[in-house]
């Protein structure tokens, strides 16, 4: 069963706006990762945040992690039409030494030009 839940399931915004996606999980983790999937393609790794980190930035991406609430958020600033994709959070579990990733159900982001 999926331990990750993401909201919203779908998000539609205008180019230039910010997009925020949230992810919750249930078990203890080593790290949390965000991936992007364009239609018909594989997952592209965006950013990894470790369990002892609270915030991380990469370009227009900002990820936060709150282990007390078992939640994470991904913020994309100044969105572009090319950001249209599905976004997934994935956790590495302490019990399995982080070997397998457990994915959320994803957020479909549409950025309208």
């Amino acid at each position: 069963s999926q331990q990750g839940e993401e909201d919203p399931q779908a998000l539609s915004i205008q180019e230039g706006e910010n997009a925020t996606m949230n992810c919750s999980y249930k078990t203890s983790i080593n790290n949390l990762q965000w991936y992007r999937q364009n239609s018909g393609r594989g997952l592209v790794h965006l950013i990894l945040i470790r369990s002892n980190e609270r915030e991380k930035h990469s370009g227009r991406l900002r990820v936060t992690l709150d282990t007390s609430k078992k939640s994470s958020s991904l913020l994309i600033t100044a969105s572009r039409a090319a950001d249209t994709a599905s976004y997934f959070c994935a956790t590495g579990n302490e019990e399995t030494s982080g070997s397998r990733l457990t994915f959320g159900e994803g957020t479909q982001l549409t950025v309208n030009p």
Binding site: Q2, N31, Y35, G42, R50, G92, S99, R100, L101, F103
Partner: protein, 114 residues
Amino acid sequence: GEEVAQTPKHLVRGEGQKAKLYCAPIKGHSYVFWYQQVLKNEFKFLISFQNENVFDETGMPKERFSAKCLPNSPCSLEIQATKLEDSAVYFCASSQVDLREPQHFGDGTRLSIL
């Protein structure tokens, strides 16, 4: 190579036939993972390898699914006696020595069971 290469891109099989999927991980990566994606969202972990050794197979439906990673050969995932519910996109990923590093995914093989 610098990318995870999966073949074929699309595989069509009749129910009950065998299906075999291949994955060439990124050169130098020690870990290989297989995931199944059904209906464009849920990803299910199947199995992982550390070099040619099975590392974690707790996600594998063992009755019909098998996988190998042999030296100097692409890794493979084989499904015997396919069923309609096996229709999915199967993704392979690889990562470097540290399991906590990002996994790099191939573009997947779309398996259609008719």
